[in-house]
């Protein structure tokens, strides 16, 4: 395997990881502040993608589509928070799992009811399509590079939001001591709605960005949801930094595992068997990584509390 291919694959792993980060950031934020396990986060990702596809189809503008995904998912998130989620904060994890599982059913079939059973069309905009040549002669899709940049910008934005703004102070206070912020006269209910809508908007944005190079269809959120959980658990629940590092670890493990494990197996088996066994191992790799991290560090890499 040439060095160029290796670098390209590392870039791919990085890009996959950044994409996971967009999804995981909202999830870990919501868990950190409100202590809520939200299985319906994948549905918000799906809603973002569907809003984007609908708007792009109607207007032809990718930027409007992205705005629609942010707005659509944030509104859906705020609504769900007001109607359902806020009744779950003082319930145990079990009830949260069941209630948000019920939300998945409602959102998935509701979306199918509105948009039909067939996948929707959403494409990379012209000004971002096609490959560009990187130094060293690597041809790499411009859109994927853009994804990496957008993801890093979001990470930076979140960091600034949490460390430099008033809302950030409240969020940090909420993570540490709920009674405290109530005592300070902050409207907790409003804070929670805002945080949930923010998390939802991030998921929606991820859905729209990824939907452009994948399939916009009902059920697209669940596989990513599981991966996002893997990410935040590896990183330590509630930690944005952990989510970023966890996401990149998962992205690299998954991508490089898929390439190297079949190659390694070829040392022992004939090519057909090797690719088959290698692929099986590769699909288990991130779960092995997660289990290993938790066995060594039971609260994840950057988790403060269990």
């Amino acid at each position: 395997m040439s060095l160029i291919l290796l670098i390209e694959q590392v870039l791919n792993g990085l890009q996959f990881g950044i994409m996971l980060f967009l999804m995981a950031a909202g999830l870990t934020l919501i868990f950190g502040v409100m202590g809520l396990i939200n299985l319906a986060h994948g549905s918000l990702y799906m809603i973002g993608a569907f809003c984007a596809a609908a708007v792009a189809g109607a207007t032809g503008s990718f930027l409007l589509a992205l705005i629609a995904s942010l707005a659509g998912a944030a509104i859906a998130g705020a609504l769900v928070e007001l109607v359902v989620i806020r009744r779950l904060y003082d319930k145990d994890h079990l009830d949260q799992v069941l209630a948000t599982f019920a939300l998945i059913l409602i959102f998935s079939e509701g979306t199918r009811w509105v948009f039909g059973s067939f996948p929707l069309f959403l494409d990379v905009p012209d000004f971002l399509s096609g490959p560009i040549t990187l130094p060293g002669g690597i041809e790499y899709p411009l859109y994927r590079l853009t994804l990496i940049v957008v993801g890093l910008l979001v990470a930076l934005g979140l960091y600034l939001l949490i460390s430099r703004t008033r809302l950030g102070v409240q969020i940090r206070a909420g993570e540490n001591d709920r009674e405290m912020i109530a005592a300070l006269g902050i409207d907790i209910a409003k804070l929670y709605t805002i945080v949930f809508a923010l998390g939802a908007a991030l998921a929606g944005l991820a859905g729209a960005l990824v939907g452009a190079i994948q399939s916009v269809q009902v059920g697209m959120g669940e596989p990513v949801l599981i991966l996002a959980f893997v990410v935040i658990v590896i990183g330590g629940i509630g930690s944005i930094k952990g989510a970023l590092i966890g996401a990149i670890l998962v992205g690299l493990t998954d991508t490089l595992g898929g390439i190297f494990l079949p190659e390694v197996m070829k040392l022992f088996f004939d090519p057909s068997t090797a690719t088959s066994i290698g692929s099986s191992l590769a699909s288990m790799a991130i779960y092995v990584l997660m289990a290993a991290v938790l066995i060594l560090r039971p609260s994840g890499l950057f988790g403060a509390r269990a």
Partner: protein, 327 residues
């Protein structure tokens, strides 16, 4: 308000009367549905030992359900093709005998639960939920690519396995067998919760420090509970495979883990009959709502949501008015 014990008696009555009515009315499919509910109930009672008494929220019990299923699938597959499971280091032949299959299912799922338990119990809370989920996903992806036993296609067993003295092909006889196992498991779970072990486990959930001061190791207590729990769910997996005469990786999926957990929450966590009521109601809902519209998942979702938001302690809690045992 009805007392919980009356409600439990009513549940047993439903388990006995509905299938008998179905025999008289010649509605064999109702018996199949009841068998499905009974088997799901056994799986959920297994999980309830870890979850209800031990407070271990496992989102990976599909592992044991699937191991039980594949124990049945693999043994019966080899019996039906007249090949050996292993020829070396010692000859192991397939079998079509239910008791033998059940024994294998229980032993293998206990072993898996022991290993997974030792590793997972290093974590607590949400991390425990997620590490059990991770083990579930590993088994799921492994089963999908295990070409020798059908991969994603799964394994079809053409004729249901046999149980001495019964014709398991007759729906009501197979149901009777499953009901018998269900009642035995119920008695076992009841005795367990009242035993010194059960009381210590309960205490380990509520006040681990106090348990430690009297010289008991809470992690060890939880590990034993996890293994027992996995063994029972594994047994249910083998029976479920025999009900369908089919196994597939779906049995290992995280949705399966979620469903088993839903039965418990629906019925009432930590209650002896919670899983039974939950499984009965879920199977009935799935059957009736499915006939209503293509979009029946919406109704199912709304119903589940209402129960979580407004029902305290699941269905049993709602009817009996008593607060949940587990908070």
């Amino acid at each position: 308000m009805i007392r919980e014990s009356y409600l439990n008696a009513l549940t047993v009555l439903v388990l006995l009367a509905v299938p008998l009515w179905a025999v008289v009315a010649d509605e064999p499919f109702t018996i199949t549905l009841m068998t499905r509910a009974a088997i799901f109930a056994i799986a959920a009672i297994g999980l309830n030992i870890a979850l209800g008494i031990g407070g271990l929220v496992s989102l990976g019990h599909a592992v044991f359900f699937g191991i039980g299923g594949y124990a049945m699938g693999i043994l019966a597959h080899h019996a039906q093709t007249y090949t050996a499971v292993f020829e070396w280091p010692l000859l192991i032949e397939g079998t079509k005998s239910m008791p033998v299959i059940w024994l294998v299912a229980v032993v293998l799922s206990s072993l898996a639960a022991l290993v997974i338990g030792i590793l997972s119990l290093r974590t607590t809370g949400v991390y425990f939920i997620m590490i059990t989920l991770a083990f579930g996903q590993m088994f799921f992806f492994f089963a999908i690519s295990w070409a020798e036993y059908g991969g994603e296609d799964g394994l079809s067993i053409y004729v249901r396995n046999g149980f001495p003295g019964l014709n398991t092909l007759v729906p009501i006889e197979f149901y009777g067998l499953c009901l018998g196992v269900l009642l035995l498991v119920l008695v076992f779970a009841w005795r367990l919760s009242k035993s010194p072990f059960g009381l210590a486990l309960n205490a380990a959930r509520q006040a681990p420090v106090r348990v430690e001061t009297v010289g008991l190791d809470p992690v060890r207590l939880k590990l034993v509970a996890f293994v027992i729990s996995g063994a029972i769910t594994g047994l249910a997996g083998a029976m479920f495979a025999d009900l369908n005469r089919f196994v597939s990786p779906t049995m290992f999926s995280w949705q399966t883990s979620g469903e088993i957990m839903i039965f418990i929450i629906l019925g009432g966590v930590g209650r002896l009959f919670g899983p039974v009521v939950g499984a009965l109601v879920f199977v009935a809902l799935e059957h009736w709502l499915g006939g209503l519209s293509d979009y029946w998942h919406i109704y199912l979702g709304l119903l589940l949501l209402l129960i979580v938001l407004f029902g305290r302690g699941g269905l049993i809690g709602m009817v009996s008015g008593r607060r949940a045992v587990h908070d």
